[in-house]
Amino acid sequence: MGVEGIGARVTRKEDKRFLTGKGRYTDDMTVPGMKYACFVRSPYAHAKIIGIDASAARQMPGVIDVLDGKQLQADGIGNLICGWMIHSKDGSPMKMGAWRPLAVDTVRYVGDAVAIVVADSYLEARDAAEAVSVEYEEMPAVTEAIAAMADGAPQLHPEAPGNLIFDWELGDGVAADQAIASAVHVTEIEIHNNRLSPNPMEPRATLGIYDAAEDHYTCYTTSQNPHVARLVMSAFYNVAPENKLRVIAPDVGGGFGSKIYIYPEEIVCLWASKKTGVPVKWTSDRTEAFLTDAHGRDHVSKVKMAFDSDHRITGLKVDTIANLGAYMSLFSSAVPTYLYATLLSGQYAIPAIHANVRTVYTNTVPVDAYRGAGRPEATYLLERTIETAARELGVSPAELRRKNFIRSFPYQTPVIMNYDAGDYETSVAAAMEAADWAGFSARRADAESRGKKRGIGMSCYIEACGIAPSAAVGSLGAGVGLWESAEVRVNAVGTIEVLTGSHSHGQGHETTFAQLVAERLGVSIDSVNIVHGDTDKVQMGMGTYGSRSGAVGMSAVVKALDKVEAKAKKIAAHMMEADESDIVIENGELKVAGTDKTVPWFQVALAAYTAHNLPGGMEPGLKETAFYDPANFTFPAGCYIAEVEVDPETGKTDIVQFVAADDFGNIINPLIVEGQVHGGLAQGIGQALLEEVRYDPESGQLLTASYMDYAMPRADDLPSFKLSHQNTPCPSNPLGIKGCGEAGAIGSPPALINAITDAIGNNSLTMPATPMKVWQALQSVH
């Protein structure tokens, strides 16, 4: 490792612009003639649209036009789609109800877009939106999945009788039933995974620009994957052909999954720009973000875990109902299926696993991937269940886990995944030592003497990242491939641009990707620029989600660098009259091994572009492209331990210690990896203690639509975390990287709830464990 190469703790190249107010986010963009949009949204959770009267709104100051869904439909703009086909166990395809960018006949959740107002200023657009008169016929609404499945429940889509989208299974049900029937002990538990709002601090925004002279569209948008946005808007929504549509995702202020999807607003603003002849910008306010950004989680599951007399797990049976909201969002079907049930083996050797998953429409905003996406749901379920089993069996939760750990790799689970590497024992040992697990009983006694209830809880998580081999996901129903692309452009003066199809919205790619180049070529990271987020600059790429930018995106850079190096070595060999197999690249120079002959990197680059003296037949230039399709998922894993004190008077939980021991494989930049873990932990702890999206079950009104009502983790809600890293390099990609973006959010909720239930002596507790719920759970113990 050089001072700036792989493994170096370098500070971020991109920081200065963010720290000095020079970040450029979508809402910061202005173009000549730009106007502002405000959407007219449904105030009802479920209603028929009888009519829309915009005549008064059109007369208001500054208003340019008011456009509705009938006009959009007449112009041939398509419906939103879900890009991952799931088949029910009876073989029938999932039941996708129509999701129009602007509702035409029916609105299905509070916030469903009905019309767009374009005006000179945002305030004028907003005033006029309030003056658009929409006549609704309100219908009964249902917001919870189980209620939506009941006889007589309000029906959302004619395509989906009983609101059932699909009834899917994975694994061997007969084997799992047999394991349970012949078990010495069966732990049964019901698991609720609370609904969350991702809440990146930058609200979504989009600027649609139609150029009539060129018949060309430009879309600035808050996207994690601008190329996917362009593809979907072209191929499915008929906005424009790809060569007539440029999508730019500039600085993006966090995503956490919620900015993967293509939402109605991008499509409608592009279309409205053409209709009105002016560039149209829309920026969500926070209330709109709560109402319309895809939510996460919202599962209810029944679990049975079977044990033999030696406390080995012999079988697992899971029955899950997942709420997908009013429409199927872009990857919504994959989250509670292939990103969830495939992880139900956890870190354990379980011979028989069966999962049944039913997904349901409700009158709520669509649910899709949120940091972790399926894997937090699997981990929470499994780690709450095994902790419960340890309590029932009267054994140490750490020992019960250890007894069941997978210990040799590769390991084929009964639920598709083939774990390529791992060492769970090392992580659990590191976590227990860091947490002083052995000293807990003394600390508990001390807390007791102060009138506090102290508890400790563990969680051993595994996740699948780097998604994923294209052929594999294709065979499971994905509508896209999940490779990544890279281009390495060496300039004539030797500086380098790396163009990547992945996208940074906080992850620090401008630094870590440059570190990879520094490692390989021995050049400074300051001589390397990372380019991303613009479909006109960067070739097709798949974007950032599933902790894939390192494992997949950087692997593509490695492949491109391999080609660049090979050509540079040929040129250097020619220049120094040496054999190319003797050329090595070190510290920014190409050397003939074992001699003092060297040529600086920049001279090789210059030679490539002057082309005065290249090897015979060689093309000028030094620029290479690569596409990398991963060979497998990657499998980060680790052990988290939470220690809490509960005040029995108030039910308030204080996290007195939180330990995270993670195996992410090789690490490019520990500073950045630690930051990713901190942030993931904060979101997981938020889920466990604070956050929950709540709809009124009768009216379908969103009750948690602001930071006054939805409890975001604040600085004084969280402790300082103790982190450590173990490393079993990933054998499935050239850098040995597993990915680190989601682990914190995946592993922390069960550790917290295991700790609190340990403290209060009552295992019945649902997330978020608010002081009121904890206090009530304590009362039922006494």
Binding site: L123, G254, A715
Partner: protein, 163 residues
């Protein structure tokens, strides 16, 4: 419509605005200083924090017309061109930012916090003082570390200058 004249980052500036325009929108749209952000609509998130007459203020909680005659400092104005304020430098050193969206508000809050506490800052105080600034990326740990480090550096430096 009103004409508002105020001092922003040391320059006297004027602009016409709707009486109901918030100061944050005046700063962003009329002055083109887009480092000050809007992350909520209930004055909770703190991405819009600026300094007004020497105190940190959420610029979404005040009308532009109320700021007439005030001295405003935004994130663009706390350091000389091309340099970093010690708080900005500490955020970089300690990786106290990821997506950068909350960062300007965090920095402005931290500068004010360090100024008000005369060097007497500890982790619990910093966490409490940051209650009005929400970050979704960092889990706050490195922000807290950055504020404490900047506090030490700034007050250490002040003491040194006084000696």
């Amino acid at each position: 419509m009103s004409k508002v004249t105020l001092t922003v980052n040391g320059r006297t500036v004027s602009g016409e605005c709707d009486d109901r325009m918030l100061l944050v929108h005046f700063i962003r749209e009329k002055l083109g200083l887009t480092g000050t952000h809007v992350g909520c609509d209930t004055t909770q998130c703190g991405t819009c924090v600026i300094h007004m007459d020497g105190r940190s203020v959420k610029s979404c909680s005040i009308l532009a017309v109320q700021a007439a005659g005030a001295e405003i400092t935004t994130i663009e104005g706390i350091a000389a061109q091309g340099e970093l304020h010690p708080v900005q430098a500490a955020f970089k050193e300690h990786h106290g930012l990821q997506c950068g969206f909350c960062t300007p508000g965090m920095v402005m809050t931290a500068v004010d916090m360090i100024g008000r506490h005369s060097g007497q800052l500890d982790e619990a105080t910093v966490r409490h003082e940051l209650e009005g600034n929400i970050c979704r990326c960092t889990g706050y740990q490195n922000i807290v570390a950055a504020v404490l480090a900047a506090n030490q550096q700034m007050h250490g430096a002040t003491r040194q200058a006084a000696e």
